[in-house]
Each structure stands twice: as C-alpha cells, then as structure tokens.
C-alpha cells in the first residue's frame, strides 16, 4: 500500500507542474496586455512601460513563470488590482459556500440515486425499472442551468416556498442558510443522480447473480437484508470511481448554480473576475481549482485502492 501511495504521489508532481504551466500560459501567452487592462483609460506609453517594469512584465517569460511559481509555493498568489484583496483571502472567504453546496448536492444525489438503484436492480426489467432507467437517461440531457430555471420557476415563482436568490452564512442562521441552499443543491443533485443510479444499478444486477446471494436467499434472509447488507457494499466500487470523474462536472455545475442563485462561492468569484477582467484573481482561482481537482482525484484513487486490493497489486 505504501508503495502504491508513493507511486501515485510521484505521478502527482509532474501533473501539478503541468497544471501550473498551463494556467500560467493561458494568462500570459494569450493576447491582451495586463498593464493596459489595469490602467484602462489612463494608459499612456510611459505609464504602461513603468507599470510593466514594476510588475516584472518586461522580464523574459520563463523568468516570470519561475518567480510566479516561487511566490505561489510560498502561498503568495498575488493581489487583485481591483479590490486589493489577495487571492487567498478572496478564495478562503468563498470556499465554505462552494464546499457546503457541493456536499449537500452530493448527499442529495446519493439520497435519490442509491435507493432508486437498489429498487431497480431488485426488480430488474419491471415497468418501474424501465421507467426509472428511462428518466435517468432523460435527466442526463437536462443541462444544469435548465433545471435551475425550472426549479426557480416552480418553487420560487409559482409556489413561493423558497427564495430564488440570496445567501446567509450557516453560522449566522442555520435555518435560513439551509433555505437558501435547498434549490441550488437540488439543482446540482438532479444532474448527479442519474449517473449514480445507472452505475450502481448495473453493478448491483451483476452482484445479485452471484452464488452467495443465492445462498443468502436459500437461508431465508429477508430481501431488504440481502440487498442492503450483502449486495450494496460489493456493488459500490464503480460508484467511487465515477465520483472522481463527477467532481469535475460538479465544479462546473457549481459555477453555474452559484451564478443563477447568487451564492457568494468560488464560481461567482471566477465569473466576477472574468467580467471585470481581474486577471490575477482569475489566474489564482483557476490554478487553485485545477490543483484541488487533481488532489481530489488522487484521494479518490487511494480510496478505490483501499476498497479493492486488486488495484494496489496491479491485477485489475
């Protein structure tokens, strides 16, 4: 196991370096001069030259990359030239919102997807199974922003049960916080449950054909006990892998959902930085999100190896 972790960690280093290189080159090689953007109307050739020298923009590109990377390593991601906030401040203020949103969404998706998958697998081929598999397939074609609009229309405009936009920190008023979070989390959960349900259902159908399930039936165990105790755990391996793949979609979905529901999370920060051309914030957020995504996939890989010993030993 230690060998496996070490190998995966070693693999992480070049990927992270490449992520930083890609982030930096998006920001530096593409047209548009940062100095002009910052100065705006006051851009005279002298001003621009002075600012470029001040920010080190006149240095060769490899030197700028190395010094930027050096700063990043020391935790200095730069400072927004619009608000004066450092990237780390801005991100740490908004991160809890995004994490709460994604956790609630994932919980919601599991709460919808897992029971449906179990019932469908137990009644494989029944009208209910076919109906749910069909709906799951249909839901995969509903973009996040579509279900967001639909939910806002239904619950905020027509029924007036829940607020459409806004946010209160959890620490201030937990109930109000959850009321604001229900629709955004549900929107993301609606996009996530079909994947969970489809994967778990097909794995579960395979598990239910194993001999030990037949033995459990012969022993006279109740169907609920067989399904939940004997079949669920061995069927949930693929589920863990697709969780890793889905994190990327979840982050993308969170950007849209935060914008639609006006939640002050990382996604809103990113969109705001793009709209105000706040390139330092943009660069920092993209780097942090990319690195975070790589790390989360690394953790999912490890989790998978813990659950399935064959992976550790390279037999699968």
């Amino acid at each position: 196991m230690a060998f496996f972790v070490a190998r995966r960690l070693l693999y992480l280093v070049p990927v992270l370096i490449a992520v930083s290189l890609l982030t930096f080159s998006i920001a530096s090689l593409l047209p548009g001069d940062l100095a002009y953007t910052i100065l705006g109307d006051q851009a005279t050739p002298e001003n621009v030259a002075a600012l470029r020298a001040d920010m080190g923009l006149d240095q060769p590109i490899w030197w700028r990359y190395l010094s930027w990377l050096g700063n990043v390593m020391q935790g200095d991601f730069g400072r927004s030239f619009r608000t004066g906030q450092t990237v780390l401040q801005a991100v740490s203020e908004r991160l809890p919102v995004s994490i709460e949103l994604m956790l609630l969404a994932q919980l919601g998706a599991l709460a919808i997807g897992v029971p449906l998958a179990i019932v469908c697998a137990a009644r494989n081929g029944s009208p209910f199974d076919r109906f749910m598999t069909g709906s799951a397939f249909g839901m995969l074609s509903v973009p996040t922003f579509l279900s967001a609009i639909l939910l806002i229309y239904l619950f905020a405009v027509e029924l007036r049960w829940l607020p459409a936009t806004g946010y209160v920190p959890f620490g201030e008023d937990p109930v109000a916080n959850l009321r604001f979070m229900v629709l955004p989390a549900l929107t993301l959960a609606l996009a996530e449950w079909p994947g969970i349900m489809r994967v778990l259902r097909s794995d579960m159908i395979a598990t239910l054909q194993e001999d030990y399930i037949a033995l459990a039936k012969a022993k006279g165990l109740t169907p609920a006990r067989i399904l939940f105790v004997h079949a669920l755990k061995p069927s949930s391996l693929t589920l863990v892998t697709i969780t890793g793949i889905n994190i990327g979609r979840l982050i993308g979905g969170a950007v849209i959902v935060e914008t639609v529901f006006a939640l002050p999370g990382i996604g809103r920060l990113l969109i705001g930085a793009i709209l105000t051309r706040d390139l330092i914030i943009l660069q920092g957020v993209v780097l942090l999100v990319g690195a975070g995504f790589v790390l989360m996939n690394f953790i999912v890989d490890l989790l998978y190896a813990v659950l399935d010993p064959r992976i550790r030993h390279g037999h699968a």
């Binding site: 070049p14 990927v15 490449a18 992520v19 890609l22 982030t23 998006i26 920001a27 593409l30 047209p31 548009g32 598999t133 397939f137 249909g138 995969l140 074609s141 509903v142 973009p143 996040t144 922003f145 579509l146 609009i149 639909l150 806002i152 229309y153 405009v157 994947g195 489809r198 259902r201 097909s202 159908i205 395979a206 697709i242 793949i245 889905n246 994190i247 990327g248 979609r249 982050i251 993308g252 979905g253 950007v255 849209i256 914008t259 639609v260 990113l270 969109i271 930085a273 793009i274 709209l275 051309r277 943009l282 993209v286 999100v289 990319g290 995504f293 790589v294």
Partner: protein, 290 residues
C-alpha cells in the same frame, strides 16, 4: 471532457455489430427531430421569418399570434425566428467542435494505440493534464482571455474534447492491432500508413462516430452554459443559452421566454444522446450496456 462518462473498454470492438437489431421508435423520432432542426437552421434565411434582431418596442412579450407564431421576447423580437437562428449557433458550435476533437483526438489515439511505447505515454500524459481541469473552468478561463466569438468558442470546446476522443480511439486501436487481419497485413509487408488507414480506421471510426454524437450533445450543453452566463457568443446573435439567460429575467411574467429555448435545447441534446447511445450499444457487443 470529463462530462463524457462513457468509455469504451479495451475489448469493446472485438466483434462486428449484430445485424438486424431493432432500433425502436424513439431512435427514429430522435433522427426526425435532428433532421427537422437541421433543415430549419440551414434554410433559416429563406424561410418566411421576421428578422431575429428587429425590435418592436410596442410588441414586447407579445403572446402567440399570426404575425409572431411564438410571440415576442422582452425587446419585441420574434421568438420563433430567434429560436431558429439560435439553432444555427448551437448546431454550428455543437457539430464543429467535436469534429476538431474527432480528428485530432482520433488521430492521436490511433497513433498511440498502434505505435505504443514512449509516444503513447507522452500522448496519454499530456491528455491527463488537459483533463486535470474541470472542463467548464478551462473553457471559461480561455474565453475570458481570447475574447468571445463563435470561432474561439468552437476551437476551445473542440480542444477540450480531444482527450476523450483520444481515449476511445486508443482503446479501440489497442485491441484491433492484435487481431489477425492486422497481423496478416503486417506479414504481407503493408506500410504503417496503409495498416492505419485501410485496416484500422474503418473499424475504429464506428465507435468514434457514436462517441462523436454524444460529444455533440455535451458541446451543445457547454456552449449553452457559457452563453447562459453571458460568456458565449456575443449579442445580438441569439443562441439558445443566451435566450434562456434573458428569459430568466421575466420568469414571473412570461416564463415561455425561458422555456421555449429550454425545450428546444433539451430535445436536441436528448436526440443526440439517444442516437449516440443506440449506436454505441450496436458497436459494443458487451451486454448490459445501459
């Protein structure tokens, strides 16, 4: 693109597709809708439609009528015309971007799967880096720098699709390259180019095409998301995503302004998913494909 969760396993293309399997009514309905959308988008300029950009401030959010079949939007523009011109954007971006992924990713994947070795690990490694970013974030970041235009959007979304196509092509090539007909061709002294183009390509192209259709569905969704956020095609060009975004403002008075483009987008994405998934199941002899 990580949103594409389909992956063709290594043994996916070991048998030719079974003939005579029924495709079902839904499949043909989906094809029908695709043909209908295509025709409407292609012939939009010659159809008897009002201009999609002409504003009529006296007729804002007008209900369905003989002049405006689907009413007008918040600026008095004809909704049906905007829907059809929006279809052009969604389809142009949705079809062209996966073509980039298909050609570049397909070629890289076939070369990697055929030649193996250091070239393969290089290709797979660099694709892993591209996959290290959540796709929407990367698309947002690059559009922010490059500027919004249909061309830029297509190129970015196309580049984002390359890793997925590469994987599919590589997986298919890996198994095919060990098959008898390839070994026979090698024994006969065929060049690498001939084996790749005449022996492997015709077999790899089928699963790639099925994947292409799923890629179209994903691209339409991502283009819609970007336009919805106001970072896709620049106004006044209408795209379904931007129409939904504009319709969001008037959900309480005229919800149809958001729901009409939403329905058009849903049906189109669903059609591509359905047809792509059916074709994938046909080219994939493993049972239990959902």
């Amino acid at each position: 693109m990580a949103t594409l969760e389909l992956e063709i396993a290594e043994e996916a293309v070991t048998q030719p597709a079974r003939k005579g399997r029924r495709l079902g009514t839904l499949f043909w309905l989906a094809i029908g809708w695709m043909v209908f959308m295509f025709a409407a988008a292609v012939f939009a300029p010659v159809l008897p439609l009002p201009s999609p950009t002409d504003m009529d401030m006296l007729e804002r959010r007008a209900p369905f009528s003989v002049e405006h079949w689907l009413g007008t939007d918040g600026l008095g523009r004809d909704e049906l015309a905007r829907l059809i011109y929006g279809a052009r954007i969604s389809l142009v971006v949705g079809l062209c971007a996966p073509v980039i992924g298909l050609t570049v990713g397909g070629a890289l994947g076939m070369l990697a799967g055929y030649f193996r070795g250091r070239f393969e690990s290089m290709v797979v490694g660099s694709m892993d880096v591209l996959l290290a970013f959540p796709p929407l974030i990367l698309a947002l970041a690059v559009t922010a720098y490059l500027g919004q235009s249909i061309f830029n959007l297509t190129c970015i979304l196309g580049a984002l699709g390359i890793p997925a196509f590469m994987r599919v092509a590589r997986a298919a090539t890996l198994t095919l390259a060990r098959r008898e007909f390839v070994i026979a061709a090698q024994a006969l002294g065929a060049t690498h180019a001939r084996i790749l183009l005449r022996e492997l390509l015709p077999n790899v192209i089928l699963p790639l095409f099925a994947f292409f259709l799923l890629g179209v569905a994903v691209t339409i969704v991502v283009e819609g998301s970007l336009s919805f956020l106001g970072l896709g095609v620049p106004p006044p060009i209408s795209s379904w995503g931007s129409m939904i975004g504009e319709g969001r403002e008037s959900l309480d008075v005229a919800p149809r302004l958001a729901f009409l483009p939403a329905a058009a987008m849903f049906l189109t994405v669903l059609s591509f998913n359905l047809v792509g998934d059916t074709l994938r199941a046909l080219t994939d002899p493993r049972q239990g494909a959902l």
